[in-house]
Symmetry: C2
Subunit: 314 residues, 2 copies
């Protein structure tokens, strides 16, 4: 057991209010006066979640995007954010960060509501936190998948992971770097999907680990077909589409796509929605009674990789 999972387990003992959803969901869902408030808080740390030489405007974008992705996974319309910012005393970086924040707030019609700035000792890594608040008609949990449900995925995965490899020296299409640096949370899609799904979350730690979280939370077994996992043209141009490429795509993080379970009968409606909103939706797996996740490639079972993705609390 890692320190982080032990710590989170200890926190779970404190998070007994139903609004906390056992700290097992993307966001808290708090009912106040008949309104479902959806609240997420994510932090990003220099050297861990972003690189020291990433453009500061992109760091601001990412900080907003990762939180909105959590809200999107609960079908919430975002209203505003509170910012926690560590001032490292580099004016130029800070100014560029504010410019990026302005763009992100405008792009998602978000209010900057408040927050805090703290000065940190020279040399300490930058550490940024954001709380996002939104409202949802109905906030699907991770735990609602039913036997026979299909597992769906929006957009394509692996792009951000490939983009990070480009930043570390490999060559590939620049749009993959953009997918890493400027993720697009699926806000409108999440709102449209919420009434149609039985469980939903966002893919941030890797498809396999996140899919297994839905299966575990729903107390079901899950089969995933690698061949059905949607890859982008840019991804395939860089890394191909063989089993190795698909294994990489399904375990890389930072996708910020939506992953959801839906009754088989919903498929026509979901495909029509995808058409209307202009974001592909792909069926990549199926839930059955039982437990555990199994992986297939062209119908043939393959061994699960040792690491299913990034394990952490969020």
């Amino acid at each position: 057991m890692t320190t982080e999972s032990a710590f989170v387990a200890a926190l779970r003992g404190l998070a007994t209010d139903p609004a906390a959803r056992g700290l097992l969901d993307d966001a808290a869902v708090l009912e106040i006066g008949g309104t479902n408030l959806v609240l997420s808080h994510d932090m990003i740390v220099e050297g861990v979640h972003f690189l020291a030489d990433d453009p500061p405007g992109d760091v601001a974008w990412k900080l907003v995007a990762v939180n909105l992705s959590d809200l999107a996974a609960k079908g919430a319309r975002p209203l505003g954010v509170l910012l926690g910012f560590s001032l490292a005393g580099e004016d130029e970086w800070d100014r560029a960060f504010v410019d990026g924040l302005r763009l992100a707030l405008a792009a998602f019609d978000l209010a900057l509501l408040g927050g805090d700035t703290v000065s940190v000792p020279k040399g300490a890594p930058r550490m940024l936190g954001l709380t996002a608040i939104g409202t949802a008609e109905r906030a699907p949990s991770r735990a609602g998948a039913r036997p026979g449900d299909q597992l769906w995925l929006s957009g394509s995965i692996g792009d951000a992971g490939a983009g990070l490899r480009i930043l570390k020296g490999e060559s590939g299409p620049p749009e993959l770097v953009e997918r890493y640096r400027q993720p697009r949370p699926r806000v409108e899609l999440g709102i449209a999907l919420a009434p149609l799904v039985s469980a939903m979350m966002d893919v941030s730690d890797g498809l396999l680990v996140d899919a297994s979280r839905i299966a575990d939370a729903s107390a079901l077994a899950l089969k995933i077909e690698l061949g059905d996992v949607p890859l982008s043209a840019a991804f395939m141009e860089m890394l191909g589409e063989d089993r190795g490429a698909r294994m990489f795509a399904t375990t890389a993080g930072d996708d910020y796509e939506l992953l959801f379970a839906a009754d088989k009968g919903r498929a026509p409606e979901l495909l029509a929605l995808a058409e209307g909103i202009g974001i592909p939706l792909s069926r990549v797996g199926r839930f059955d009674p039982g437990s555990g996740i199994r992986l297939f490639d062209g119908g043939q079972e393959v061994q699960l990789p040792k690491r299913l993705g990034y394990e952490h609390f969020s």
Copy 2:
């Protein structure tokens, strides 16, 4: 202009939603479905807001208390918190932190709703963030003081500042250290005061700087009488009550008392409330047309200290 004030000025340009109150208040006040949600986010950093050898349980308490103090200043009843936690890989510290968090949550009947943990590089200072959410019938701003209003203060000030001096080697009563390490946010008092005041905030950066913020936000002049500033018996035992001691008390931070403006006619009601709730309320100043803050001692004007308190955005 410091880097921090320049940064906050830039953020203000983005915080155009009325719920943000221009980033000039203790908390955001967002109306959703007829309910006033009050949201605060404060961060504390090792070596800046707490000492590396402070007991971890007290750090947890303080993190909760500083946020609840912001909510109290807006007359809000707190509901829950989201935690941002940096794991430094020291299990014992983390365990003691969780124990302290449990105590604080129980003391204020708060739900732990969610949050995030991040691992930080070895040697980086701990950095903790907390978002608190509550609801208020009416959330007084800092800007509502009127000419002729009296300035009131709850409890006593300077105790935490004196406690910090004890931790740095001076001698004095241990209860002052407790006031520094375990501040008691004035939650019930804030709820009771909200309908009676014209402006309110909490004192966290020093009485003089915080009082000048109410005066500035309300576009009024303010006179403060040093002799009326309430000091505790423990404070006076350690530092006396002469002008120097009072100057120290009014510029030290971490008091987490409530500071408010109220019509002169409210005085009997306020004194009865103080009696009922068991927390003294003292009149320490008066608002008049004009601008700026002036300091008196025994009715005689004295020069303002160079530093009125701690200047930062919160």
